[in-house]
Amino acid sequence: MGERSFTEDVKQLGYGHGQVLHGEGILAITKALLQSGVSYVGGYPGSPISHLLDVMADANDTLLEPMGIYYELSGSEAAAAALLGASINYPVRGAVTWKSVVGTNVASDALSHVASAGVVGGALVVIGEDYGEGASILQERTHSAALKSSIPLLDPRNSLQSFARFVEEGFGLSEACNEPVFFSIRIRACHMRGTLRCKDNVRPQVSMLTPLGAPSFSLERINLPPFTYQMEAKKFTERLPAARRYIVERGLNEHHPGSEREIGIVMQGGLWNTVLRGLHALGLADAYGRTPVPLLVLNAIHPLVPEELVAFLARKRHVLVVEEGMPNYLERELKAVAHEARLDVEIHGKELLSPHGEYVPALVVGGLRRFFAVGPPSCRSHAAIEDAYAALTAEQERARAALPQPVAKRPPSFCTGCPERPLFSALKILRAKAPELGDTHVAADIGCTTFSTQAPFNVGNTVLGYGMGLASAGAVAPLFGKRVISVMGDGGFWHNGLTNGVASAVYNRQDSVLVVVDNGYTSATGQHHNPSTGTNARNEPTGMTIPQALRGVGVRWIRTVDSYDIPRMLATLREALTTRFAGLKVVIASGECQLERQRRIRPATRRALAAGETVVQPRFGVDPDVCTGDHSCMRLNGCPSLTLRESPDPLREDPIAHVDESCVGCGVCGEVAHAAVLCPSFYQVEVVRNPGRWTRWLAGLRAGVIRFLAPGSPTPA
């Protein structure tokens, strides 16, 4: 399963004491989970933490099961968070993971309950903080979720060794304070390649091999009054103070004294690398992290330890807080602490950096430069810092001046041969050819289908949440005056769409059309299995289907259409939009994820060819002298393999269409040209490799007759 095979990585997960692991940040975290003696691991995939779940899936048979560790790909982040319920009553360690902030939002209910009841076994939530450059979701940070539920939040600095250490400390912290713990890791850090000196894996005391057997009951752990009041009190009188003690005792935060007396920088641990590089760019640090500027690196950003902060702030005049995201909790807390301690220090933060955006070097370097103008270091002159900064920006400006015009954007899109593309081609064709039906509100969803909102389709008026497409049309449908359309992938359908979307729409008798795009996998996260894939992440059969589920919640109008069959899709959409049936109409657009399909059939084809078996390989082409270069096909398609080339006739100045060799022969370009009545330029070529004798003889015969009929031969006319 998954985009990549992790066979090599799985081998490294078995490493023992002293062995050196080479791999990505996420692998180090996974290894550290095994070194911490976890009894269970779960989660919902999503960039940037998908690979954690993929590696675990690949390691299930050889490593996890023999150790008795339970592993699952949970139905949603809420289901994953609920797994932590195992640690409420029982002394078992467990970890779950998801993409945040969206996953945390989905998980909130269960998470709040776990945080209220408290845990006796260490419970770790590995948060892939999908924020900033390369993020695929809305821009919020998880910090506030930690604050409101009193969940300690680790944001360690970026090296594999540090990740492994803080996973292990996370379990210790969780058990010390009886709260689940967030372990946050940023996008690029997840996929940072480095090395880890390993320890032995620890076999869990409670496992599937050595099960619990007896239940544990305590009213004090049931989230009902009056115990909820006690739980709240415990958070602030016992649990957070215990967490603070642990943070201090274990030295989770790092204080680098430096030689400067009056200035200092406080930062989230995850920004340590960038801050050090920024200092280096201004001539205030060397490549190895030695700097005269005092630093307080907060690897634990919640709870903060006031004594630690006061000790750092004392006797300083200016301190900069480098903290990504708003609200600026760290900065505010530092100001409050300084005020209470009557310290004569000015605390700077967002006003010198930025209230929004990922803290990338450009932003941090600019902020540091402004900080040193306010609080100048004694070891380097203001002019020298300004010169270093000016040298950097001058280089950028010189380069930019060389560029004659802006560079076209390159939005993400459907892959070559994707089964979702023809659906949106059909919707766009319907919008143009039958605007009275097709030009309607389209509620988009999250997943690969979201790319429909981008060029060339621009189909989809809202994107609201994973599996929430249909639900988001709930009030639009009755207010719109014509039938609206919602789109949902199979991943979203099982995650949230079936209950909050479909069941709610049937229950409220919504008269609208839902298209479920069933490509067999939760593809956007990396082709993860979902209930209708047929097997789960452990490759056990499931026997669940989307039509079954739809019928089960009372949907009566269901049509399944091969998503590549554009004429049938158009006819079915027309029917759904015009039928007298007033309830929810569901069209299932069915077609296997092309990435997964290619991954399966390419090796099979290679083997068949090598064995001399007959193989038919389709692909598409454009006749370069027939194409007039109006590019209408591209506006309805957008396939990466459908591209441009110069016309063979120099008289034609506009580039013409061309299907490049990445074509997988799905046929959408031809079908679109056909359905939208564009042009006769497209043709399909099927190459029959290793043809049988009969095929070869027939082809020879045909070619002979055609040669006779072809121009240049005596014409019958």
Binding site: G289, P361, P406, P411, C415, V626, D649, D654, E686
Partner: protein, 519 residues
């Protein structure tokens, strides 16, 4: 402690790529090579949806030596990048735009091949980023540029573009990793080792040799032969239009016959420049010559059938599909509409029906969808038989319609050129809009006629405003054409643009009319 020290201590390599094109493998090779060399290394990437054909970047830092662990950064510092290793050429432009390329520091190693962005593809006209300008920008923005078409090279040598680029990185000498370590990395990865090593050596040699290796651009297609009967006439044409006329005449004879090509030359004659004519006048003749040739060879069903039944076409298809000794089956996706079907029939026969059909189906016409297997005898014959209708073409319904339109265009060009050559040139350029099939063709033809009519109205409205009025009409013609060539969104702005221009002209405000047209 000083900024200079780490320039030696850490080498930064940014790898911009188009998602799904294998930038990850390239960065992994570099990391592996550094490990094989025994130096400290660290690499990062952005996973997830950005890889689905969107822009994405990989970033690697290599520490040159010493026992101490450096502080690696997860991102490049703008203005302080050592190497940009681009697997696609427009991504170089994007990195320059983002301020990541430093002329005083960055070595740019790039493949010059292009994977066009969707925005370059969906314009009706040409929206491709000009390649020469991009190359010039890359040269000026970098300390050293090593640029070549790695994809073309890779295809030629049955290897991967990534491997060629890796070789170029090794050959550039900017990273503290020896070439042996790079080879080890490829071997350790264990995928298509032989082919990738071949690519690596290719890139290595290129980077060591010329500062800026290049694959020669595709040669311009050679000039076709002019039929004997027309050789004297073509030879008598002014030099500046002779090449265009040669290609045009060959195309027209291929399309119909010698007489048809003579008709073309006769239509072109009024626009031919006299000796010593100004360049605009020469350009006018060239533009008319080009668009007229394409228009006169409009793609009717007969033409399409002819192009699709030529023996060399099947050879081309076989070659492109690398069919080898396999059997090839070709299926044509044809869907002529009513206009195209009876367009090939005689005008007199069809005209009354056509008039009725226009009223009956004002938007779009009924179509006859068919998938024809042109590699079977019956399939081939169905297409081939269509070509036998060629003798009817001169009297066909479609011919009459098209030639009437051409005459209107040529008359408008002549009239405008008489007022002002620049204006005539812009009106002639509107001939570029006539293209496509079926609905698209009808829409584009309608837009072409709207542009002509709007420009003529502007000339009328501006007749009291002398040269400035003509400048407005010229600018309007150019603006409207560019709007249509942007695509449907641009087309939607045509009417409003004309209305605003006419309103200003009628108010006697030529300067005010001109200003918004410049953008």
């Amino acid at each position: 402690m000083s900024g200079e020290r780490s320039e030696e201590a850490i080498v930064s390599i940014l790898i911009p790529a188009v998602g799904g094109q294998g930038g990850g493998v390239l960065s992994e090779w570099i990391v592996e090579a550094a490990l094989a060399e025994g130096v400290r290394v660290h690499g990062t990437s952005i996973p997830g949806v950005a890889q689905r054909t969107g822009s994405t970047t990989y970033y690697v830092e290599i520490a040159a030596g010493g026992d101490e662990e450096p502080v690696f950064s997860l991102y490049p510092v703008p203005g302080a990048l050592d190497v940009l290793l681009a697997a696609e050429f427009l991504e170089v432009g994007r990195m320059i735009e983002q301020g990541l390329v430093a002329p005083g520091r960055t070595t740019v190693i790039a493949s010059t091949h292009r994977l066009y962005s969707i925005h370059e593809k969906i314009a009706t006209g040409r929206a491709i980023y000009p390649q020469d300008a991009l190359r010039e920008a890359a040269r000026r923005a970098s300390r050293r540029l090593i640029a070549f078409d790695a994809l073309a090279l890779a295809r030629e040598h049955a290897t991967e573009a990534n491997a060629v680029l890796l070789g170029a990185l090794a050959g550039s000498g900017v990273v503290p990793v020896g070439e042996a370590a790079f080879r080890t990395a490829i071997e350790r990865k264990g995928v298509a080792v032989e082919a990738n090593l071949r690519g690596f050596e290719l890139g290595l040699g290129l980077a060591r040799g010329a500062g800026e290796g290049s694959v020669p651009a595709a040669p311009r297609p050679s000039l076709p032969a002019v039929p004997a009967a027309l050789q004297a006439e073509v030879a008598a044409l002014p030099e500046a239009v002779r090449e265009i006329a040669t290609r045009a005449v060959a195309r027209l004879v291929d399309y119909q016959d010698v007489a048809y090509a003579r008709r073309y030359l006769a239509r072109l004659r009024p626009f031919l420049p006299a000796a010593g004519a100004p360049p605009e006048r020469v350009e006018l003749a060239r533009v008319v010559g080009r668009h007229l040739a394409l228009w006169m060879t409009y793609e009717d069903a007969v033409r399409v059938a002819e192009l699709k039944t030529r023996p060399d076409r099947f050879q081309r298809i076989r070659a492109e599909a690398r069919a080898g000794d396999g059997v090839v089956v070709v299926t044509e996706y044809l869907k002529p509409d009513l206009d195209e079907i009876w367009g090939v029939l005689p005008d007199r026969l069809v005209r009354p029906l056509a008039r009725w059909a226009e009223r009956r189906w004002p938007h779009g016409r009924p179509t006859l969808g068919q998938h024809i297997r042109s590699t079977t005898v019956t399939g081939y014959l169905r297409l081939r038989m269509l070509t036998w209708l060629k003798p009817l073409r001169p009297v066909s319904f479609r011919a009459r319609e098209e030639h009437e339109r051409m005459e209107r265009w040529l008359a408008a060009v002549a009239r405008c050129a008489a007022l002002d050559t620049g204006l005539g040139l812009e009106v002639a350029r509107a001939g570029q809009l006539v293209k496509g099939y079926g609905d698209v063709r009808r829409r584009m033809t309608a837009m072409h006629e709207v542009v002509l009519a709007d420009v003529l109205r502007a000339i009328d409205a501006a007749r009291t405003q002398g040269e400035e009025g003509l400048r407005v009409a010229t600018a309007l013609a150019a603006r409207l054409r560019l709007l249509v060539l942007q695509g449907p969104e641009g087309e939607a702005q045509v009417a409003a643009t004309t209305a605003a221009t006419l309103a200003r002209l009628e108010a006697g405000d030529a300067a005010g009319a001109l200003a918004p047209l410049a953008g």
